[in-house]
């Protein structure tokens, strides 16, 4: 019977909150952001290949075929613009260089003109272009045909191997760590506040009195938490699927197989974070009778959330094995934010992950027990909010309302 009642309460929350404009709008916005981010990055020309823009002027004395040679060599190296200076005087060329309209001018195979300082990488590039143009010219003079020339001077393709893992894998791990941290910080706030809203709504409309005539407070609380966590998981899945789909569709990042290995842990950790925070928000919601009072009781929730987020962010972009990061990994209110980061960065052992998740589960359970007890005493209370002192006494059971 109790299970059935929990299911009914959970389904009602899912239907009511799932249909709400707020939930649908937030889900749509986050999904759009998840899909749009890789797509936009892919579409931006400047960031599509991270190539440096260079502008090379070619004067009259430069060898024939240099334009084509430089263009062929620039692929995957420079975003190249060739400026034809063949009709320009020396003074005009100097002016272009002084005003940085071009980076370098090739005046002859022997002379590269610079504005102020030489770019050694660009020198090497232009020199290679000159050599290629010269070689092509000589080969042409020897009567070699086009196909043969292409074979002789075709680019050599190279692959790379990294002893300590590729920079791509590291970037993806860092990205996943940040995504996990961001979701662990954001989702409990959204769904925690929805839980609080639901509790306060039931108190202010007095429907809780009718509900409690049929079900126990703990059953009501459990149904509410399960329903809202289910909605959060749906939202989370949509966001992650949208993001992964967009990443795969745009070929922006290749997701290494090792990244998929910590997805289950990421989900468990997020679920734990959602559970503990929705329970906490429900408990705090039961202390007030009006939504206007919500801000007063919510403040303490943000202390562990912000602490977890900031330490987590430091761990994402820096050292994930600081003492503070390790300590916060064991605390149930902050571990949902630290776990994904430290796992994604490979800074925590499997045993530690299991223990941390166990502590999170235990913390959630104990908080649920406390919340159910407080809930029982405060749900029929209206008017002024229940003070912190009274909350402590309620948790010790010295007041029977």
């Amino acid at each position: 019977m109790r299970r059935r009642q929990i299911k009914e309460i959970a389904l009602r929350e899912i239907r009511t909150r799932g249909r709400s404009r707020g939930y649908r709008a937030i889900t749509a916005i986050m999904l759009l952001m998840a899909i749009a981010a890789p797509v936009v990055v892919n579409l931006l020309p400047s960031s599509s290949n991270d190539l440096t823009n260079v502008s090379i002027g070619i004067a009259t004395d430069a060898p024939a075929g240099l334009d084509e040679a430089l263009t062929a060599l620039a692929i995957d190296i420079y975003d190249l613009t060739i400026v034809d200076l063949r009709g320009d005087t020396r003074a005009e060329i100097d002016e272009r260089l002084s005003e940085s309209k071009i980076d370098v001018a090739v005046e002859s195979p022997a002379i590269l003109a610079w504005g102020q300082t030489e770019d050694s990488a660009l020198t090497a590039f232009v020199t290679a272009g000159l050599q290629r143009a010269e070689a092509l010219q000589r080969a042409n003079d020897l009567g070699l045909d086009g196909d043969a020339l292409s074979r002789v001077f075709g680019p050599v393709e190279t692959e790379q191997r990294f002893v300590d893992g590729s920079s791509n894998t590291e970037s993806v791990r860092q990205g996943v760590a940040f995504l996990g941290l961001f979701l662990a910080f954001l989702l409990p706030q959204i769904f925690g506040q929805l839980t609080m809203l639901s509790v306060v709504e039931e108190k202010s409309t007095r429907v809780v009195e009718v509900l409690l005539s049929q079900i126990r407070p703990g059953t009501l609380l459990a149904g509410k938490i399960i329903g809202l966590c289910a909605l959060a998981i749906v939202q989370l899945l949509l966001i992650v699927l949208g993001l992964v789909g967009a990443l795969l569709a745009t070929d922006l990042v290749e997701i290494p197989s090792s990244v998929w290995a910590f997805v289950p842990m990421l989900v468990l950790s997020l679920l734990g974070g959602l559970t503990i925070y929705t329970t906490l928000f429900a408990l705090l919601g039961s202390l007030i009778s009006r939504q206007e009072d919500a801000a007063q009781v919510m403040m303490p929730v943000f202390v562990p959330l912000m602490a977890g987020y900031f330490v987590g962010q430091t761990a994402v972009f820096g050292n994930a094995e600081t003492t503070l990061a390790k300590v916060l990994t064991w605390i149930p209110f902050t571990s949902p934010m630290l776990l994904p980061v430290r796992v994604a960065k490979g800074a925590i052992s499997t045993v530690e992950v299991v223990v941390s998740l166990g502590l999170l589960a235990l913390g959630s359970y104990l908080l649920f027990r406390l919340a159910a007890r407080v809930y029982e005493f405060t749900l029929l209370r209206t008017g002024s909010r229940v003070g912190w002192g009274e909350l402590v006494r309620l948790s010790h059971g010295s007041i029977v309302d």
């Binding site: 019977m1 059935r4 009642q5 009914e8 309460i9 009602r12 009511t16 409309t205 007095r206 429907v207 809780v208 009195e209 009718v210 509900l211 409690l212 005539s213 049929q214 079900i215 126990r216 029929l380 029977v400 309302d401």
Partner: protein, 297 residues
Amino acid sequence: MTAALEVLGLRKAYGEVQALDGVDLRVAKGQMVGFLGSNGAGKTTTMRSIIGLVAVDEGRVTWQGAPISVDDRRNIGYMPQERGLYARMKVKEHIAFFGRLAGLPNNVAEQRAHEWAERVSLDERKDDLVQELSTGNQQRVQLAVALVHEPELLILDEPFAGLDPVAVSMLIGVMTEQVNRGVSVIFSSHQLDLVQDLTEDVTIIANGHTIASGKVSDLRQRSPHRVVSLSWAGDTPAWAPPTAQPVEAPAGQSRFRVSADTEPAAFIAAAAEQGALISVSFEPPGLEDVFIELVSQ
């Protein structure tokens, strides 16, 4: 009559305030009991204690001779004083939801929701949101919610408050049907004339304590007063008998409160000396007067 529900010696304090200080209440199967008391007398706290919403300090609540259990409490239909509904739920959905919470299978809950929406005259509005209904219609939904699971005990806290005469008539009809079905009904109300018309049995509490319980007719008979209503032909004389206390009366009539041991014949004879009497009644006070007498003691 054997009590189906028995409340004995309930005591409950909120800090310094003694909300209940010895409440006794009995209701038999198929009996309707009016639970009366002034504001703050402890009616709502008593009702909440029966339902299990309030933990009492002392006393006991039994159902069919045994301490009331969680399962027994699922057989209670409850309509609180302050109506409690989900504003953004549809009427039929609302009724069915509470039916399922009470343990009805889905199809039965749906069927009952349909039937109850019809019974409380909301069949044409069953797909409207609760917040779109008037206060009176919301109260009808609340009644349907209390009854959807066919409870054996119905507890209605101020069910008539704010209802128009048509809704009152509908509610009386439903309550009577339930009693005929064998349901035990407890309801509180400040509309004592209505209570007197609706039920024979009442329990009256004051300051958290039961001060009277029994048949309305017995309580009236036990009153130390009688009410004499007189009408004379022509103008009503300005008569003020020394042993009687004038009370409010309709136009063209005089009404006096007298001691219960007043000799009716002598009093009427004295009245007849004031003019030609065309109507006389000498009877125990109504429930409202009895109530005021009792709670004023």
